[in-house]
């Protein structure tokens, strides 16, 4: 039983994969905590509220190489996403979930021993706590051991996106174990020192973080009431945080002159007709923008909607939340620098390229941004899509299009190879070109392709 590359920190157990399923091995040392979790009703309550991942106990342990301890099989998560791929409100809901679970646990004399943002996954459009081993019995008098981790792993990215810019959530790839308070303190604007909560949790904590204090005798005097106040205070603080308003290039992409409703309607009709001709289980929408095309799919198809713009993804997430849509997972991902493999040995957290595999991949209004704005050769784009897509719906945007003219207006046109004929021949090396149609009255062409 090989643990997953990220499952090494907890001496109470580990997560492993066998026969294509994820399991959790629980060492005997964790029994007192596990039994309270299950018998006190805490597990049932959290599962009923859809806050904690349900699991079943494995009784037939002969299939597993284990001497003592338990094996549980949690409900399988369809797609693993990482916190640095979340938008602001996804972070906020994940933070609130962690605090609410800590609060509920305290009522049953348990507490969370860690507050890593990797303990949360998004399933059916909502955050879900997946670390069943994070619960431990509450020791009266002890402060919250996970407080600093909560601040570094949740508060820090939220505050960066609140005070600075929506795109700063991606700093978490650099600090996956938490953005230290002393670093955060220097990044936030000076006015943050005038806000009580930020002053306490960030700036004051930054000043404290350098000290090596001696253990004092009073360290067991943190009453349960104080802990409740701390958790409540954090919850109120997170609740009030909002995303900093910034203007982005993509806010009014579809309200331009040529690209008005008529174009959108024509493209929608074409996409729908292409989709009806192919068989697939899941969809990847690259450059999803406001998710218009992701929303076309029925609930039985899992859709991953990615876009580099954190505002777009946040708007999509808020819409999914409001309308209780369960099959779409929006993620922030810049295709020019997609989420890398990070952590110990560059293997702890997998790159997004390895995680993304699509029955159907949609690359609508995207190719010109990669080829013209970012100089990626068409053959590179074709190669990249080959590894990701069984079926592909892709839109070729020619140089005559007004958006491409915009991209080229201050640049030298070095893109002699960027033509429809070349596009066709390069992709035909790797895909069967099943359909090709002009989109409405524009010069844009929509293709349906199938990997060879």
């Amino acid at each position: 039983m090989q643990p997953l590359p990220s499952s090494y920190r907890d001496n109470n157990g580990f997560v492993f994969k066998q026969d294509g399923n994820i399991y959790r091995c629980i060492h005997p040392g964790y029994e007192p905590h596990y039994s309270r979790l299950m018998s006190s009703g805490l597990y049932l309550e959290l599962v009923k509220q859809a806050r904690l991942i349900p699991h079943r106990e494995i009784t037939e342990k002969e299939n597993f190489d284990i001497k003592d301890g338990r094996i549980i099989m949690p409900e399988q998560v369809p797609f693993i996403s990482y916190p640095y791929e979340w938008s602001f409100d996804m972070w906020k809901d994940a933070a609130l979930l962690t605090l609410q679970i800590a609060n509920t646990s305290l009522k049953k004399e348990m507490i969370l021993k860690d507050a890593s943002s990797f303990n949360i996954q998004f399933v059916k459009g909502k955050p879900l706590f997946i670390d069943t081993l994070s619960f431990e019995n509450y020791t009266a008098g002890a402060p919250w051991i996970a407080y600093r981790q909560f601040c570094e792993c949740f508060l820090a990215p939220l505050l960066l996106m609140h005070y600075c810019h929506p795109a700063t959530g991606r700093l978490f790839t650099v600090y996956p174990n938490g953005i230290p308070m002393n670093v955060l303190s220097t990044l936030l604007p000076r006015r943050s020192k005038w806000h009580m909560n930020t002053l306490l949790h960030v700036h004051l904590q930054a000043k404290f973080s350098g000290r090596q204090k001696q253990k004092t005798t009073a360290e067991n005097n943190f009453s349960k009431q104080k802990l409740e106040i701390l958790l409540k205070g954090l919850e109120n603080f997170v609740q009030k945080l909002t995303l900093k308003k910034t203007k982005t290039t993509w806010d009014d992409y579809y309200t331009g002159t040529i690209l008005g409703n008529e174009y959108l309607n024509a493209k929608t009709a074409l996409v729908k007709s292409f989709v009806s001709e192919i068989k697939f289980n899941n969809v990847i929408d690259l450059g999803a923008n406001d998710g218009h095309f992701s929303l076309l799919f029925t609930e039985d198809k899992q859709v991953i909607a990615t876009d580099a713009d954190p505002n777009c993804i946040n708007e999509l997430y808020l819409k999914i939340k409001k309308e209780k849509i369960e099959n779409i997972l929006p993620l922030v991902n810049d295709l020019m620098t997609p989420s890398p493999a990070i952590g110990w040995n560059n293997a702890e957290r997998d790159s997004i390229s390895n995680r993304l595999n699509g029955g159907l991949v949609m690359a609508l209004a995207l190719v010109h941004h990669l080829a013209i704005a970012s100089n990626v050769p068409l053959s590179f784009i074709a190669g990249w899509l080959t590894s990701m897509a069984d079926n592909l719906i892709i839109e070729f945007v020619p140089k005559s299009d007004e958006k491409v003219k915009l991209l080229l207006q201050n640049r030298k046109d070095i893109f002699d190879n960027y033509t429809l004929e070349n596009f066709r021949s390069i992709f035909a090396e790797r895909f069967f070109l099943i359909k090709e149609e002009k989109v409405g009255n524009t010069e844009r062409v929509l293709f349906l392709m199938k990997r060879k």
């Binding site: 920190r9 040392g29 021993k113 981790q149 973080s209």
Partner: protein
Amino acid sequence: MQRYISEPNGLVLLNSYRLKLNMQFFILYIDPGSGSYLLQLIIAAVLGVSFFFKNFWYKVKSFFTGTKPGKEKEKDTAD
């Protein structure tokens, strides 16, 4: 390395010993950071005072406006 004894009496003793041992393990599971205890005390104290005054002011307001001091308006939850 902890041993797992299956006899009932041994289990009780070993469990309580293991519980004490494991408390220390859990304390060190993640590094809480030096000074974190004192900091949490300070924060809890400040927030406690702040809650007290917020509550007090809320009661004063509802006394004068005649509204019931009921629950605060619906909060956005993670659900």
